[in-house]
Amino acid sequence: MIIEFINYTINGALLGLLYSLVAMGFVVIYRASKVFNMAIGEMIVLGAFLLWWAIQSRGMHPVLGIAVALCISVLIGLVIERLLFRRLIGESVFSMIMVTIGLLILMRGLVLAIWGPQERQFPAIFPLTPIILGEMIIPRSLAIGGLIAVLAAVALHWFFNRSRSGLAMSAVAEDHQIALAMGISVRRSIAFAWALGGVLSVITSMVYLSGKSLTFLSSEIGFAALPVALLAGLESIGGLLLAGIIVGVVQGLTAAYIDPLIGGNAAAVVPYIFMLVVLVVRPTGMFGWKRIERV
């Protein structure tokens, strides 16, 4: 019983780390360009299709395939920046959210048009055998994904908070105009943000779909991971790990113990309720910047 509980907790935490990986793509774009990327789910699906195309369709070796997919997604990120967000520098938060919503619809349509709606097999990039610790079973892709999430979070946290260019980008997240006034290239920052977002999307899709199937509906995970981003606070990258683990554990335990009781899918809605509760108490999330509003 106890072992089962621990198993559920560990798996839940690992799933939560997957969510934080998704949320990282979101937060990175926000952190470096002040854009809320609602299209994060679609970007993950796009990354997944690029991987599928490289490895399954073209038959490349997985490592080469991953490299190719990463390069193409960086390019796509740069193209998005060039076409869309360059003109929106300095515009209101609202416009930018709306552009990403338009981007969401556009990307979904493009994915459908290019690859069609068939279910595709997604390559098993990570070994399929699970990690077995005594009586506990831990899916290997999730475990490796968790490790990737932690490493990525640490690296990005160091980058944005300690390195010079990272700090410059944080200035962009505060205010475009002021950053420009300080001589920081907002354009480059945004381009970098989207390129990095693209890279993270490919990595996330690897962890999420390894060994399973892919279809355009897989973008649902984008919305599932948003509560994690908000729980952590939109500017905090390190906080994402904690938020992810919390949300994942809560969801995993709900799915294991409460869902069978009530005969419904409470696990899907529990992250949102949890997020609501926390936001009411701390409106900018656990570790988000507290904004000082000047009048």
Partner: protein, 409 residues
């Protein structure tokens, strides 16, 4: 002079006769409207189904219709699997196409048109299994297959008698999602069956997960530990694949029961292993997709050779074939009863309610249809076909298995 006049008169008479002759051979056109989904969740299988539908109409027009001087014309409309789109298309279809019968898809067209068809007096036939919300009296939206629970029940009873020697109730679990009411309904239906037949089946648990699950290992382990005999997955391929991966990780082999739209071939393809779902089952109250030389297969081959059917021999095509076959048979019967000019929606529905089509009428695709005002799906004639996979091919496991009685839920 007289010979000239005579020749002119003969020429005039002959040309008059010739010109009038085609007028007698003028045929009646009967319109049929078909709903399709080319941009929504079922777009990937739409072309197969559409191919099946159109080929049957082609065949009927040539073989039967030409003798009755009737031609059926099909107009297809894309509803994107969206209720609003169907609702906005409907008045136009009703007014301009004036169909005698509709070939529907499933969920959204049933939802949008369920209440309107009785007033507009046009019946609709759908080849998917019935959902709980479609099980109402006096329906004009008819399903050619009983509910998912009926189909599962038929399989479970077969499984119990053949694999368990009928000694104990089957322990069944279902993996589904709350993403749409249709999916959630599958669990309720199954529970209704198990509750009504405690000596035949026990309900272990319903696992609620996403449409694209991230990981099901622990959930499936819970099922395995509870001694589940069969896992039912009637939703989509992604859940089937995730479950299979979970079973592989656990090293256990619990048979999975799939439905036709997420059958063994499609799921194996998505898994990446052409024989991945060997030993699992796909169940439906319609002809199975095995290579056995059945009447249905012969019909399909004939359509392929003579009527340009390009779709493959799979569940989707078979559903398209089934829909169209019932539609044309209903129209045919109505023509014979009332005459070609009187084929209205109302007349066609009357035919559907009062006639019983046998398996022979329906070219072996369906075991038969008998609708009644209480149940908008076949009850007495319904039988399920169970297929499994062996060496990467669909193989028939059992044919014409009885469908149990399931109380309405």
């Amino acid at each position: 002079m007289q010979r000239n006049t005579f020749l002119k008169l003969t020429a005039a008479l002959a040309s008059g006769l010739l010109l009038n002759a085609p007028a007698h051979a003028q045929s009646t056109t009967i319109n049929v409207a078909a709903f399709a989904d080319f941009a929504g969740p079922y777009a990937n299988v739409m072309s197969q189904m559409q191919g099946g539908r159109l080929a049957v109409i082609e065949w009927w027009n040539k073989e039967v219709g030409s003798k009755l001087n009737v031609q059926i014309v099909v107009k297809t409309f894309d509803t994107r699997y969206d209720v609003a789109q169907t609702a906005s298309l409907w008045p136009g279809i009703k007014a301009e196409v004036k169909p005698a019968i509709l070939l529907g898809l499933g969920g959204p067209d049933a939802a949008a048109l369920q209440q309107r068809l009785p007033e507009d007096k046009i019946p609709m036939v759908m080849a998917t299994a019935t959902y709980g919300f479609g099980w109402k009296p006096n329906q004009w939206a008819l399903n050619l297959r009983p509910t998912y629970a009926h189909e599962a029940g038929g399989f479970l009873e077969w499984f119990r008698t053949t694999k368990l020697d009928g000694k104990r109730p089957v322990k069944v679990a279902i993996i589904t999602s709350e993403a749409t009411p249709a999916y959630a309904d599958m669990a309720k239906g199954l529970q209704s069956y198990t509750k009504a037949n405690p000596d035949k089946a026990t309900f272990v648990e319903a696992i609620w997960t996403e449409v694209q699950p991230a990981d099901l290992t622990l959930a499936v382990r819970r099922l395995v530990n509870a001694g589940t005999d069969v896992i039912v997955i009637q939703t989509n391929t992604a859940q089937a694949v995730a479950t299979k991966r979970a079973l592989q990780a656990l090293g256990k082999n619990v048979p999975i029961m799939l439905s036709l739209h997420n059958g063994v071939v499609g799921s194996s393809k998505a898994l990446g292993d052409p024989n991945g779902f060997a030993g699992d089952f796909e169940v439906g109250a319609i002809a199975d997709a095995s290579e056995d030389d059945t009447t249905a297969r012969k019909f399909y081959s004939m359509l392929q050779e003579k009527h340009g059917l390009k779709s493959g021999w799979n569940a989707m095509t078979i559903m398209g074939l089934g829909q169209s076959v019932v539609a044309v048979r209903a129209i045919e019967a109505t023509i014979k009863a009332k005459g070609a000019g009187k084929v209205t929606g109302e007349a066609v529905r009357e035919t559907l309610m009062n006639s019983q089509f046998t398996s022979n009428d329906l070219m072996g695709i369906l075991p038969g249809v008998d609708f009644s005002n209480d149940t908008p799906f076949p009850t007495g004639t319904a039988k399920v076909n169970i297929a499994t996979m062996k060496d990467g091919k669909v193989v028939r496991a059992a044919a014409d298995v009885n469908v149990p009685v399931v109380p309405k839920w």
